[in-house]
């Protein structure tokens, strides 16, 4: 890396150069039909942005209902079945229709070809198909919700889901199954693009870490999602056709369902966090004006998480009746997978050292990410320890832990990335003050919502309880209060980002003076991404704390 000559970003950028011969991708054609049949990766990214935002607010509405219900110990707002359906909806929608696609399919779609100097992903039609599969799958989930809901929890444990639930399990499972193909299609597209469409001169170890993160994520998507697909197929055949792979009456083993399910769902947790790590890396290095610390270690850490993440699924099953020897094996491997995560936290922190730090909204989100991800990761160690997990499993401690990773981590990272690349995506600057306020409000609201849940879990409050004994109330009240703040904070970007679309200042090519190839083209980029060949000779992390072009 160090043998690449230091080249800083072009200082004399011409804002006048925006009036180019080719219209940008947003203005190229306007009709709805042109959007719905587009094969342009940037437009598909926008379609994904719209659909994931839609699902985020459906899932968010369910979360609000959950927190309102838990404000009092009695189950007074919703019926017990109603509550069970709401938390299932929250889980299904947030996991499969928001968290899994949100960064790979929105930012990944938009940015991977740009970062690689390519015209599009390798399979543009497949890319569009993956969006349709995603919304068809989501359509099934919403249909199930409107038809009366589903009450199995997002984990679909048998035999409850196969033989006892009277709700729309099959419909939901089919929806998730379809969305799984969308995930696989995205994964194939990303991997093939990274392998075959890098420009000459961009070796593997010169790729931006965001590309690496999406690459590692895609590996997990491809190797885990098929197992989810088959386990859901078995679930649906058991419900609809009376076949009985997990039926205890035939000697089938419900624990086998859990093995197969978590073979997907634990790696899926890494699907939901690795892209966030990639985003945060890009943001921190840019606003610290410092070359990312330990580039190769970051790459190897991503790949290590992707691979070792497949060896740890049994830590969800310590109390399930699985063999204690298996539990200890999985426990050990779960501690091992924490090491690469620790490497990443260390490297982000070290990147700040001797930097020239500014605090744009994306930087605030990214710094929040580092803190919250650290807490989420460390509480994961609690759950990886067999004796502590025997106490904490299926309590609110688990709920708090994975929300620190998923919401504190992934959602923060998504907002960091959305703000960071917003000028590139829309050509407009967002209002910085409003964005900073939203970022800080989210951090505060998030901690108020979820920190009390660690305490709840510790004093024994089980998950998925519609009503609960009185002694837990004080912590639930705090948590619900935090949720109100969090909900308000999540609505804010909708308004100020919407505002910026029309009234925002024009961004220019490179408002952050960042180094990736995506900043070499106009904002928003033209249909074929680059009007002239992008210059790949520079180092994407050639930041220098003493020469900050943004001082001009």
């Amino acid at each position: 890396m160090s043998d690449i000559p230091f080249r800083d970003v072009d200082l004399e950028e011409d804002e006048a150069g925006e009036s180019t011969a080719e219209a940008n991708y947003l203005e190229e054609r306007f009709s709805l039909w042109s959007w719905l049949t587009t094969t342009d990766h940037k437009r598909i990214g926008i379609l994904y942005l719209i659909s994931t935002t839609f699902f985020f607010f459906i899932g968010g509405a369910a979360a609000v209902l959950i927190r309102l219900e838990l404000f009092t110990p009695a189950g007074d707002l919703l019926t017990d079945d109603g509550y069970n359906k709401v938390f299932t909806l929250h889980g299904v929608v947030m996991v499969w229709f928001f968290l899994v696609p949100v960064i790979p399919s929105v930012l990944g779609n938009f940015l991977i070809p740009l970062m690689l100097g390519a015209k599009d992903l390798a399979f543009p039609k497949l890319n569009l198909a993956s969006w349709y599969l995603n919304i068809i799958g989501g359509g099934f989930a919403v249909w199930a919700m409107l038809a009366g809901g589903v009450d199995t929890g997002w984990t679909f444990y048998t035999p409850y889901s196969t033989a006892f639930a009277n709700s729309h399990v099959s419909l939901t499972a089919i929806g998730v199954f379809i969305s799984g193909f969308s995930t696989i299609a995205t994964g194939v597209n990303m991997i093939v693009t990274v392998h075959t469409m890098r420009p000459a001169g961009m070796g593997w170890f010169r790729m931006p870490l965001f590309v690496w993160a999406i690459y590692a994520t895609s590996l997990i998507m491809l190797l885990s999602t098929p197992v989810l697909a088959i386990v859901l197929t078995l679930l649906v055949t058991e419900r609809l056709l009376g076949l009985g792979i997990f039926n205890p009456e035939y000697g089938g083993d419900p624990i086998l369902f859990q093995h197969l399910f978590w073979f997907y769902s634990h790696p899926a947790v890494y699907i939901m966090i690795l892209p966030g790590m990639g985003v945060v890396t890009e943001v921190i290095t840019c606003f610290a004006r410092r070359r990312v610390f330990g580039y190769k270690a970051m790459v190897y850490a991503l790949l290590a998480i992707a691979v070792i993440g497949f060896f740890v699924w049994g830590h969800h099953m310590f109390t399930s009746g699985q063999s204690m020897y298996a539990s200890l094996t999985f426990s050990f491997l779960s501690f091992i997978v924490a090491v690469p995560s620790a490497i990443k936290v260390f490297n982000w922190t070290a990147t700040l050292y001797r930097g020239q730090i500014t605090f744009e909204a994306s930087m605030l989100y990214a710094m929040g990410f580092v803190g919250l991800f650290t807490m989420g990761g460390l509480t994961g160690l609690f759950l990886a320890s067999v004796p502590v997990d025997l106490h904490m499993h299926d309590t609110y401690f688990v709920v708090a832990h994975f929300h620190y990773i998923m919401v504190g981590g992934m959602v923060s990272a998504f907002f960091a990335g959305l703000h960071f690349w917003w000028p590139k995506i829309t050509g407009r600057m967002y209002p910085e003050t409003a964005a900073r306020i939203a970022a800080m409000l989210m951090f505060f609201g998030f901690n108020l919502t979820f920190f009390p849940q660690f305490i709840l879990g510790n004093i024994g409050m089980p998950r998925r309880y519609h009503a609960y004994p009185d002694e837990f109330q004080v912590w639930h009240v705090l948590s619900s209060a935090g949720a109100v703040i969090l909900a308000a904070a999540y609505l804010m970007p909708l308004f100020y980002l919407g505002w910026s679309l029309i009234w925002g200042r024009k961004a220019g090519r490179n408002p952050w003076r960042a180094h990736g190839l995506e900043w070499q083209t106009t904002s928003p980029p033209p249909k074929h991404n680059f009007l002239t060949n992008p210059d790949v000779s520079g180092d994407v992390y050639a930041y220098h704390p003493r020469r900050n072009p943004r001082d001009e």
Binding site: L223, L256, F263, G314, Q322, S323, M324, Y325, A326
Partner: protein, 137 residues
């Protein structure tokens, strides 16, 4: 264009065999046909070994080993894995390796459960199957 192909279609009826002969003229059928013969031979071997009481409870393992050899032939000669890019070979192998991860760690539970093998699995007292056992008497 279409008229032409229609004409070709009618012509084909008359001289099917002649056309077929011409279609294959000079097309090298090897190594595919050889490999096919080997596959059929292996399948026959597998069938015979499965029907004979030679290997006892390992019989299925033998069948699967033969299937593995057949799969390798298909991969190498029909799917041209030999000539494929390294990354293609790697991705194919990844599928198999991850399958082994799935098997291995799942078995780490089943092979080490407490008590005699599998003893923690018991059928529950199911309703509605009364008397089923008597039929076996």
């Amino acid at each position: 264009m279409s008229a032409e192909s229609e004409k070709a279609g009618t012509a084909a009826k008359d001289t099917m065999s002649a056309r077929a002969k011409r279609a294959f003229e000079g097309l090298d059928l090897f190594p595919e046909v050889t490999v096919f013969a080997a596959l059929v031979g292996l399948a026959a071997l597998s069938l015979v070994l499965a029907l004979l009481p030679l290997f006892g409870s390992l019989s299925l393992v033998v069948s699967l080993l033969i299937a593995g050899v057949m799969a390798a032939l298909v991969l190498i000669f029909f799917m041209h894995m030999r000539r494929a890019m390294t990354v293609v070979v790697l991705s194919g192998m990844a599928g198999v390796v991850w399958l082994l991860i799935l098997f291995g760690l799942t078995l780490s539970d089943y092979l080490t459960r407490a008590g005699p093998f599998g003893s923690s699995i018991e059928p529950p007292p199911a309703v509605g199957r009364v008397g089923e056992g008597e039929r076996g008497l």
